[in-house]
Each structure stands twice: as structure tokens, then as C-alpha cells.
Amino acid sequence: MNPAARKIVPRPKALNCPQCGAAIELRAMGAAASVVCGYCASTLDATNPQLVILQRWKAKMTVQPFLPLGSRGKLAGAIWEVIGFQQRGIQVEGTDYYWREYVLFNPYKGFRYLSEYDNHWNFVTAIPSLPVAGTNARNRPTVTHDGIVYDHFQTARASTSFVIGEFPWQVKMGETVEAADYVSPPHMLSSETTKDEVTWSKGEYVPAQDIWTAFQIPGAPPPPVGVYSTQPAPPAAKSTRPWGLFFVFSLLLLGMMIFFATRALQETVLNETYTFNPAATGEKSFVTRPFVLRGAKANVHVAVHGDLDNAWAFISMALINEETGEAFDFGRQVSYYHGVDGGESWTEDSRDDAATLPSIPGGLYYLRLEPETEAPTGAAAALAQRPIRYNVQLVRDVPFYFRYFLGIFLLLLPLPFMGRKGANFEALRWHESDYGVPPNAIAWSSSSGDDDE
């Protein structure tokens, strides 16, 4: 038997800061390399029971962590205790940007980190394997890890400006590393490089509410500001989804169109050819033989063809229900003109005209027709003496296509705006990057990438 077996490792006892005497609680059971006094901010060697001072510092608690040291929360299937907190900053073109990092500890699973910037949270895990460096189609740097390509976002020198609690490395105020971020939302790969070491970690965007729930923080989290590099695009901003919806609804419309087209009666109820003499006087109107329009309510397609020559004709029509006397009045005009102008012959052909009368109840109907044309005058008179022949065809219940295509067209209308919303989101995401524009956008400046301001 191993004498160490079954022995429960107790919680470390509270110690006193050798610099200022304040009580220091070690939460990571000695797994941490350093601990920073919450009162005087001296960095102490957490692996040494005497808490040797590594860095003397006199500072006030100027940054209050959202998650107090010692609080526990369940994230990614495990319980984590907050044991350390630091604020780090980078300087980009003279402006300081700060973010905050929490060290999470579980004695079996080790360390994880939470980073927070403008209320955007990421859960960060160190990764043991090395991402593969590459470039994208626009020659911008990428890294590939586990088959996912991450686009380079930013490289900057990050320095620690405030620190408290325990860390798995010897954290120091003013400590500087070169930090590079590569993103593939909602994930980020980050490298931190010093002379002797390069470490990689993978972050995943976590909604602030999930942090609040995990650590049981009362109230609602402050709303995040702007778009963060790993923030998933909201559903409406995803450019594939509107197209997917468009496709689905278009298919639906086409399906309806085919369904109703195959069910349409398409019954020709009248197909007659008439003539009239423009020169004739007297009553021009007449009625057709009666015909039956089957079904309850359906459309009636009326097609008029005029056998004309340099003339026009207007046919006034009324579809009259023989039983009820209800009349649907309408008219169609046909014309055909041709000639020679400056040596070139021209034609203006409108010999066919058609209309669809919607929602005509079934029943026995007849059509009243009244053709009209220009009274022949002058030189045309002799020609126009010719009688005008015209054909009228009535079809009950024709399939209609136009409204479906109109529907599809209307579905298309919001797409450019939705696409733009997605593009805007990506533009906002990448605005804060070293490039100012998304990885596949054409850079306005040359390859330097720094002069886009």
C-alpha cells in the first residue's frame, strides 16, 4: 500500500503577504507559479511556502473583476474556480485597449481562462499541438488547426497593467508578450511568444449571459459593445440563410404553380371569328352563343386576334351571366401598322391582345361584343373599306404563372439588404483588425496593412 493513498489534500492555509502582511489565500493547491497580493500587488512565488517576493509593487485595487477570486462556476462540463485576474492592454496607433483575463482552476483538469473585452467573453484553453501557418487567397496570414482555417486578426505587444491572485506562470506588472490572434468565429487561436517559448490557446465566444448563469452572478450582464472578433454573426447576418429561405419559398411557389397548373381546366368555351365593315353604319354590337363556365369560381382568359392592315380595332366586350344578368365589362385593342421610312421598312405589330378575368363564378354566359375602329378618311379610306376580321377565344380556368414569378421576384428584394447586414457585421468585426477589412476583401492599401487609417 502506498502511504499517500486515501490521503485527502487539504485546502492550503491562508498565508500572509511578506510585503504588506495582508492575508493571501492560495486556491490552486500549489499548482500556481505565482500569486499576486490583492492589497499591495506584490508578486509572490506560490510554489514556495514562504511566499518569496518576486516583484515588489505598490498599487491600489484599481480594477474590480466581474468574477471575484474564489467564485466557482460550471463551464464546458466542469467546475472551475476563479484564482487569478489580470488586465492586459495593447497600444494600437496611440490608443490603449484593455481586456481582462480570469484564471480558472480545477485540480484535475488544470487551468482554463476567461477573457473579457467590452463585455464580450471567451473561454480559453491552451492547445498542445502547433497550428500550421499559411496564407489566404488575398495573401493574408492564416493558421490551420484541426482542419479549421483561422484568419489573422491582429498582432500586438500585450502588457500586463493590473494583476491579482494566482497564475500558472510568474505574472508580473508591466510584463510584455507578443500576442497574435487568428479568428474563425466563434473560435480564436492565439499565440503568445517570448524568446524561449511560443504558446497557443484556443478561445471560444461565450455569451455574457452564460457567464452570469455559470457563476450565478445576480442581475443581467452589461450589454456587449460593438462586434468582437470571435462573435458569431447573428442569424439574419449569415449570408447563406436568407438564400436558403429564398430557395425554400421559391420552391414552394413553384410547387404551388405546378400544382394549380395541372389542376386547371383549360377548357376553350368560345372560339369564333367575326368580321365587321368599318364603313358600315348602324348597330355594331352583337352577342355570341351561350356557353357554360364550369366550376365555382375561376378565371376566364380572353384572347383577341385582329387580322388588320395599317389599322386598329377596339373590341368592347361584356361577359354576361345569362341567369343573373351580372356583366363583366372590359375591352381589348389590336392594331397593325407597317410602312417604309427613309428606305427602311418598319412594322408595329399588336395584332394580339389578351386579358384574364379573375374569379368569374360558374354558370351559363354569353359575350356581348362591340368592335370599333377609326372612321376611314382620305387615301386610307379605300384600303380601309376592307372588312376587318378578328378572332375571339375564351378559355375557362387557365393556369397563371406571372404572379408566382412576381412572388419569387418579391422574395429577392430583401436579399441585398440582408446580405449587406451580414457584410456590415463582418466589416465591423474586421474593422478592429490589423487590416481594417475582412480577410477576403480587396485591401485598398498595399500589402503593409498598417496604413489603412
Binding site: 502506498n2 502511504p3 499517500a4 493513498a5 486515501r6 490521503k7 485527502i8 489534500v9 487539504p10 485546502r11 492550503p12 493547491m29 500549489g30 499548482a31 500556481a32 507559479a33 510554489t47 514556495n48 511556502p49 467546475i79 480545477n106 485540480p107 484535475y108 483538469k109 488544470g110 487551468f111 491552451a126 498542445p128 499541438s129 502547433l130 497550428p131 500550421v132 488547426h145 500558472p168 506562470w169 510568474q170 524568446k195 524561449d196 517559448e197 511560443v198 504558446t199
Partner: protein
């Protein structure tokens, strides 16, 4: 009780070996470091108090790696300027020996391997240096100057008199891992891979107050 056993030359306590090839062990009672010479044990040093325990693993922890059961029988503790880590000596059910390194709960299993090509000297290696073995390309990510903090249990070599150690850690794109150990000349190469804590299915772990495994 087929394990070879002996008596601690310092305190007379029985010393049981879990592994017949062990060269060095520590007495569980008086903490003497004992080196085996044929059947005799020689006390070569005394283990100082171990630094605060930082790992859920302990001597006697059992687990499974690539379908082969192992037991933790020894440990070397190193410290460097930004922390400490453990190299746990594993003895597998097939008799082979390997190492489980535990650096702040980042776990890797590795085995002593014969280098396919000569390794650079301690002054020639640098971060970013690349090495290929068994078709795996590895690059140096960390150079560590470590000091030797303590030992526990059975080890395949004598490790009691090494003070400063230089290590180069190498990583691949797919989670493979290598360490070049400059405590010997020519340097030793350990090849392996990073492992998830859960995948080792460890039992007989240390228990921590206020936590459940």
C-alpha cells in the same frame, strides 16, 4: 509477492520494487534515495521535503494508455523559473516503461526513443528548430533550464545527483510531443503525444478537499 524486495540500508524498512528493472528508488519511510547495485541498495542521498503537491496523480495511480494498463511507480519533480512540473514514471502491463509528464495539468505520455538523426548540442538548439522522426515533423516550442527538485519511487536510472537540466520541448501540428533531455551526452530523446486527462481513465488519484474528480 514475486516482486524483488530488499531492506533499506538506512532504516531497515522493507523496500518493494514494483518494477524489476528499477535502478533507483526512495524509501517510503525515511525518504532515503537508494540506488541498486546487484542485490544491494546504497543510500546516495536524502529526499528533501517535496514542494507542495500540485498534481492529482500519485505513486500508485493506475490508468490506461492506448489499451495498455499502466501504474505510476516513480516521479521526478523539476522546477524552472516559471513553475514546476512532474515526470511520472510509468510501468506498463507489457513490461515497458514510459513517462507521463504533468505540467500544470497539461498531460503528455512519452517513451525513450533512439534518435533517427543526430540531435544538436545544448548550445545549438533554438526555439523553432525542426526535427523529423517516424515521419512526424516537430518544432521546438520551449527551451527550459530546470532544476531538479526531488524524486519519489522507482526510476530507470539514477537521478539523484543532477542539479541543472536543460530541456527542449518539441510539438507537432497533430499533438505529438518530444523532449530532448540534455542531462546526458549524447542527449536523450523522448517521443510521445499529448493526452487528455479523461482519456487515461486514471484511478487511485489524489483527493482534494472541496473537489470531486
Amino acid at each position: 509477492m514475486s516482486q524483488p524486495s530488499a531492506i533499506c540500508p538506512n532504516c531497515g524498512a522493507p523496500i518493494r520494487f514494483r518494477w524489476s528493472s528499477a535502478i533507483q528508488t526512495t524509501c517510503e519511510y525515511c525518504k532515503s534515495i537508494l540506488v541498486r547495485h546487484d542485490v544491494n541498495l546504497e543510500k546516495v542521498g536524502q529526499v528533501a521535503d517535496l514542494p507542495p503537491d500540485i498534481s492529482p496523480i500519485q505513486i500508485g495511480t493506475e490508468g490506461v494508455y492506448r489499451n495498455t494498463a499502466f501504474q505510476v511507480i516513480g516521479r521526478i519533480i523539476y522546477s524552472h523559473d516559471i513553475g514546476a512540473w512532474n515526470e511520472w514514471h510509468l510501468i506498463f502491463s507489457n513490461g515497458s516503461s514510459g513517462w507521463l509528464s504533468d505540467a500544470q495539468a497539461e498531460y503528455a505520455v512519452s517513451f525513450l526513443s533512439q534518435p533517427e538523426s543526430p540531435l544538436p548540442g545544448p548550445g545549438e538548439i533554438y526555439r523553432g528548430w525542426e526535427y523529423s522522426q517516424q515521419g512526424v515533423r516537430l518544432a521546438v516550442t520551449t527551451l527550459t533550464e530546470a532544476s531538479y527538485e526531488g524524486v519519489e519511487g522507482e526510476l530507470p536510472f539514477t537521478y539523484w545527483d543532477k542539479e541543472r537540466c536543460r530541456f527542449a520541448d518539441l510539438r507537432s501540428v497533430d499533438g505529438r510531443f518530444a523532449t530532448i533531455d540534455y542531462t546526458e551526452a549524447p542527449p536523450l530523446l523522448f517521443l510521445g503525444e499529448f493526452v487528455e486527462f479523461e482519456s487515461l481513465r486514471l484511478t487511485n488519484l489524489k483527493e482534494f478537499e472541496g473537489w470531486t474528480a
